[in-house]
Structures are given as C-alpha cells and as structure tokens.
C-alpha cells in the first residue's frame, strides 16, 4: 500500500494523472454522476418537469414488479434475447468458419457481412419497415411469387417480435463474425495438421479443436450479445413503438416511455436499476460458465 502511494508521487504518474484529468472530469459528470443520481432518484416520486419530489422508499420498485406491462416487458425482453442470441451466435460462427478459408472475393464477403453493423440503427429499421410492409413490401411481394401470403410482419402481434428478432440477427451478425474470425485466426495451424495426421475428420476437428480453442471468444460474444439484447431499443422505437398490443414492449422501451412520455423520472430510474441487476446476474452466471482454466 505504502509503495503504491509512493509510486503515485512519481513524476511520470503525476503527468499521466494530469493528462487523464480532463476526460475523467467529463466521464464523472456525464456518466458516473448520472448513474448514481438515478439510483438516488429511484427512491423518489419525481417528475421530469415538476419541481418537487417525494421520498417513497422502495415504492417505485414494488409498483414496478406488480405492473403487468412491466412484467410483459421483462418476458418480451427474455423472448427477444432467446431469439436473437443462440441463432445469432450460431450463424456468426458458421459464417466466420466459412470466411476463414481462402475464398474468392473474401474481402467483399467480409465487408458485406460487416456493413449492417456500422449502419445506423434508425436507417436500417426504416428500410426494414418498408421491406416488411404487408401490402407492397419487398418480402411479401417475393413470398407471393411463390404462392405464400405473408403475414402483417409488424402489424400482427403474433409476428411483430419475430420480425424485430430477424432484423436484429441480421444487423449484429457481422460484429460477432469479426470477433470469431479473430479467435479462429489465433488457433495455430499445427494443431489442425497434427489432428489430420492422426486421422481426424474436419467435423471432428471442428468440435474437438475449434470449439474448445475459441471458448473464451465464444464466451465474450455470448455475454456481449446477451447484454446488448437486454438493452434493445432503437429498432423497437422506430419499427413498432412497443406495439401492437404491447407485443414488442421491452424493458428499455418501457423505461423510455415512462421517462420521456410520462415524465416519471423516479419510476424510470427504478426500471433502469432492475435492468442493471438482471444483466449483472446474467453476466456473473455466464462468466462462471465460460471460465477457462489454462
């Protein structure tokens, strides 16, 4: 401890701290302070525009947990996560393995899959809204060519969540793909060679070599995807507004609605902290699950 403090006194450390100070101030004011302030606000009945606030203890939390719409938002968020993460991870892994080979137009394919990731969510959601339009939309027009009457993708409560899930998988595919590619390229070629000499088939080497070797990468991608899915907002905001009939009401959209449509700042802060707790628990469980012992 003493040694640490001494080291802080070093000329270099001082300079480093000084250099960090400006960004740390900004970070504190705009990130750290709001985070803890929202925890404080979550114990009050306070409106965005009102001047008074009333202490309610855990009142916001108990109201929330009994609210049917919030419960619906929780189950919808889990539904969304279960829809997006396994399929998304699986597809990304398959594509990464394919693109890890020496293919023609490799660069083209890699950029093609990555482009959606860097495109704005709002722009993507608008384009998909048009494609999913039930009467003249591209998707239903194509389906009708092969004799299928497409559903009202975003207007039918039975289909709306599925539509959002499809879009989200497509949008995030490239991100996980790049992570997996990096993981795959870290595996030394010799391992595969010796397996080949021992007579392993390519399927065997995939399950016995590739999967174990990229387990940390797989873990990272899964944790990030689950965290991202729990926080889904942009596509819901643009495409469905939580509807129809609350079928796509997710936690962050609920939070947004409470905070910026109903101006219930305290209540919305409580939503944020419940979401934080849920994500924290999920992440701890996963970190245990994906822990590697080298």
């Amino acid at each position: 401890m003493v040694r640490k403090w001494k080291r802080l006194g070093h000329e270099q450390t001082k300079t480093a701290l000084l250099a960090l100070l400006p960004s740390f101030v900004v970070f504190s004011v705009f990130t750290i302070y709001p985070i803890f302030h929202s925890l404080y606000l979550s114990f009050f009945n306070v409106s965005l525009v009102a001047t008074t606030k009333r202490y309610v203890g855990f009142g916001n939390y108990t109201t929330l947990l009994n609210n049917p719409t919030f419960r619906r938002a929780i189950t919808n968020t889990l539904h969304y996560t279960m829809g997006v993460v396994p399929v998304g991870i699986f597809l990304a892994l398959v594509i990464a393995v394919l693109l890890n080979n020496r293919l023609r137009f490799l660069g083209f394919f890699r950029s093609a899959f990555f482009t959606p990731v860097i495109t704005s969510m709002v722009a993507v959601s608008l384009v998909w809204t048009w494609m999913l339009e039930p009467n003249y939309g591209l998707i239903n027009s194509l389906l009708s060519k092969i004799g299928i009457t497409g559903p009202g993708w975003l207007t039918d409560p039975k289909w709306a969540m599925t539509s959002v899930i499809i879009l989200s998988i497509w949008k995030n595919l490239g991100y996980n793909m790049v992570i997996f590619l990096a993981g795959l390229q870290d595996i030394p070629a010799e391992v595969y060679e010796s397996a080949q000499i021992d007579g392993a088939t390519s399927i065997q080497s995939f399950f016995r070599i590739t999967i174990p070797m990229i387990k940390p990468t797989l873990g990272f991608a899964t944790i990030m995807s689950i965290m991202g899915s729990m926080k889904v907002f942009g596509q819901i905001y643009v495409m469905t507004g939580g509807g129809p009939a609350n079928s796509t009401m997710v936690v962050v959209y609920y939070l947004y609605q409470q905070a910026f449509e109903f101006y219930r700042t305290g209540y919305a802060s409580a939503v944020a902290w419940i979401l934080f707790a849920v994500i924290l628990v999920f992440t701890i469980i996963q970190m245990r699950f994906f822990r590697t012992d080298y």
Partner: protein, 416 residues
C-alpha cells in the same frame, strides 16, 4: 501574425456586438412541429413578421414531429432553457402550467375583452382551470374523407356519404373488394389510425363519445371508460376489423391517396394537403354518428415561456400578430383549419372561400357539435393507457370488458 488576427477577430466581434445592442433587436426562439405545405406557409408568415418588425427577430425552428417536439420541449422546460415561444398540441400546456413555465395571457391583455371574438370551442381547448394560458392558433376536427370514384364503381351514390355507424358498415362491405381476383382483399372500405403509439386514441375517443361514453366521470375524479358504451365502441372497432373485415390493421401506406382505401377518418387540417395530392373525385363528409352526433377537436396553440419581461413582450407581439384576424383568415383558407375568430368566420372573404370550396362547409357545420377533450394534467397518461387497451383488444381480438377494466384501474393511478 496570429496575435494580430486574434485581435482583429476580437475587435470585430465587439463592434458587431455593439451594433446589435444599438439596434436593440430582441431575438425570439420559436419552435414548431408543422410539416409539408403547412410548414412552408407557416414559416413564410414568420419571415413576413420579421420584415414588418425590425426590432424583433424570430428565429424559427422545426423541432421534429409532434412527438419529438413534445419530448424536446419538456426536456427544455426541465432544464430551464425553453424557447421563448412554442407551438403546442392541446395536451402539453396543462403539464407546463403545473411547472410554472408558461406566462398566462392575462399578463399581456385582458382575456375577457381580447377573446370576445373567439369561438367558445377554440377557447375550451386552451382553458385550464378557468384560465387561458396559451393563444389558440389552429383548430381542426375529425372528418370523413371519401373517394367518390370508388363509390360510383360499386354503385353507391357519391353525394350520399354514410351518416351512421350502420351505414358505414353497409357501405364498407360494398367497398371492400378483391379487385384482381387473387383471393386477397386489395381495396378496403374504411381506415383510421389503430396504433396506440401514433395517436389512435384521438379517433377512438370520438367513437366513445358517439356511443354515449365518457373518458372521465362527471367530476373528473376517476376514469370511466369501461361502461357499456365504451365496450360498444371497442366492439365496433373489433367488428370492423375482424367480423366485417372492412378495416385492415395493416393498411397500405397512403392507402387513401392511392385509391386503395375508400373512406378515411381524417382531420380537417389535412384537407388542403390531401386534395392537392389525389387525382380522383375527392369528397369530405361529417363523421358518421351513432347514439350521439359528435366529433373530436384537435388543435394547437402558441405558448409564451417565462423569460425576461422584454423577451416576453416581444414574444407576445409575435404571437398576437400570428393569430390576428388577417393571418387567421389566410391560415384557415390555405390549410382547411377552422377559423378561430367569429369575425373571420363571418367575413366576406371567408364566405367566398366556402363557396369555392364546398367541402369546407362540412367542417363549419361539424364545428357546431365538435367536442374538446378535457384539459387535465392526467389526460396525457389516461389517454395513453386507454389507447393501449383499445389496441390490445383490437389487435388480439379479445373481449374488451376485461381489458378496459384493467385500464381504468391503471388510469386511476394517474388521477389525483
């Protein structure tokens, strides 16, 4: 060299600053949410005001559609940095008043005298607890647009639009057709907004009133939209969509304008825009009635925010000018909005305009039984809850009683 440049910049800034102080021009920020043709007309008016008033400069800013503008406005009020003037939808002022952000009209003029020329209904939309807080600017009511060509095609009299709910269904059944014979409907009888997040509740409340229902009880202490009348209204919507199948829940975009929707519940504020867009024989009719003959009123008003006395005075000059007789007349004739002033309604210019645009006559007739929604702080929450309940019953095709009962319970949590 750099020093010299900097000095020069500094001096010129100071000089420019002094010039503007010398002319004592008051700068006013004005936010609005109008779009399309209406925005062009509106912004041209602001430019005209600036030309006529060299001592005031109004900086006009489009702040996104209604929903985006409302969010920005509330945030700016919360942050203590509102614009000087904003165009507001009917339901924003109650909340703003509760925060003390608005300046009431009585600080500028005597409302009794000043508003003597205004229609009662337009005053109702800006009156909160007996006091006018904002300046009425435009007023619309809900109306039925219909496609006379489509009426002729199915043998309906284009001069006899449906007058009752039953006729609406009867006409709708004839007008809903599978034109290309592929087994799928491609022309629908009737359409209106059914999604809660884009304001379906505004239309629903009119149907609720027509069925004899109410949003609140008589003394506004509780929500009352779960009685027999409310259930009947929701069931009517459900029947239109699921039993008669003349209302599609996935309407084609701009379906009415392209001739795939025969009748559309719309607002008088879009008469001019729609008439300009369509190439068929366009008709405008009063909304079909049920137990009661009533239509909903929508509209906007201009609010002045608490700033400095000098800026508030300049803001009033601007607001008063925008809503004066001549400008209200021009605005009404250019857009289809209902005139707010009796003098405008009875002016010879407007009479001539009505003669040239007979369908606007309908608007004026309807204004007689138009009804304003209650101006309460809780209305935004209560109506939102109602809208979601109706959407739920309609889209999931479930019995409305239970859904409405739950919604009333939830809505009562917002009323105190």
């Amino acid at each position: 060299m750099l020093k010299k440049v900097l000095t020069l910049v500094l001096i010129s800034t100071l000089v420019l600053g002094m010039v503007s102080v010398a002319s004592a021009q008051v700068k006013i920020d004005y936010w609005h949410y109008l779009s399309g043709v209406n925005a062009e007309i509106h912004e041209a008016k602001v430019a005209e005001f600036n030309e006529l008033h060299p001592d005031i400069h109004v900086e006009v800013l489009y702040t996104g559609n209604q929903f985006a503008t409302r969010d920005k406005l509330m945030t700016s009020v919360a942050g203590g940095q509102p614009p000087h003037v904003a165009l507001m939808d009917q339901f924003w002022p109650p909340l703003m008043v509760s925060t003390g952000a608005l300046v009431p009209i009585r600080e500028f003029v005597d409302p009794e005298v000043y508003f003597a020329d205004y229609n009662q209904i337009s005053l109702d939309t800006v009156t909160i607890d007996g006091e006018q807080w904002t300046m009425p600017f435009s007023m619309s009511n809900q109306i039925l647009f219909y496609n006379k060509d489509m009426f002729r095609e199915v043998g309906l009299d284009p001069e006899k639009p449906p007058a009752t709910w039953d006729e609406l269904v009867e006409y709708g059944l004839k007008l809903t057709r599978d034109v290309d014979g592929d087994g799928k409907t491609d022309e629908w009888g009737i359409n209106f907004t059914t999604r809660a997040n884009v304001g379906a509740v505004y239309g629903f409340i009119t149907f609720l009133w027509q069925a004899g229902g109410q949003i609140y009880n008589d003394d506004f202490t509780a929500a009352a939209f779960n009685n027999e009348a409310a259930v009947e209204a929701v069931n009517f919507w459900i029947d239109l969509a699921h039993k008669h199948k003349i209302l599609t829940l996935s309407p084609p975009q701009e379906g009415f304008e392209v001739g795939r929707i025969a009748m559309q519940v719309s607002s008088t504020s879009s008469i001019a825009q729609t008439a300009a867009k369509v190439d068929f024989d366009f008709g405008v009719a009063p909304l079909p009635a049920h137990k009661e003959k009533v239509t909903g009123v929508g509209g906007s008003s201009m609010g002045i925010f608490r700033t400095t006395p000098e800026q508030e005075a300049a803001a009033w000059t601007f607001v008063e000018w925008m809503a004066n007789e001549q400008n209200n007349l021009e605005w009404s004739m250019a857009t289809g909005y209902t005139p707010l002033r009796k003098s405008v309604l009875n002016s010879p210019e407007y009479a001539q305009y009505l003669e040239e645009n007979p369908y606007i006559q309908v608007v004026i007739e309807q204004a007689e039984y138009a009804r304003a929604r209650p101006n309460l702080v809780s209305y935004a929450d209560v109506s939102r809850v109602l809208g979601i309940a109706v959407e739920e019953a309609l889209f999931a095709n479930i019995d409305p009683q239970q859904t409405l009962d739950n919604a009333v319970l939830e809505a009562n949590g917002y009323i105190w």
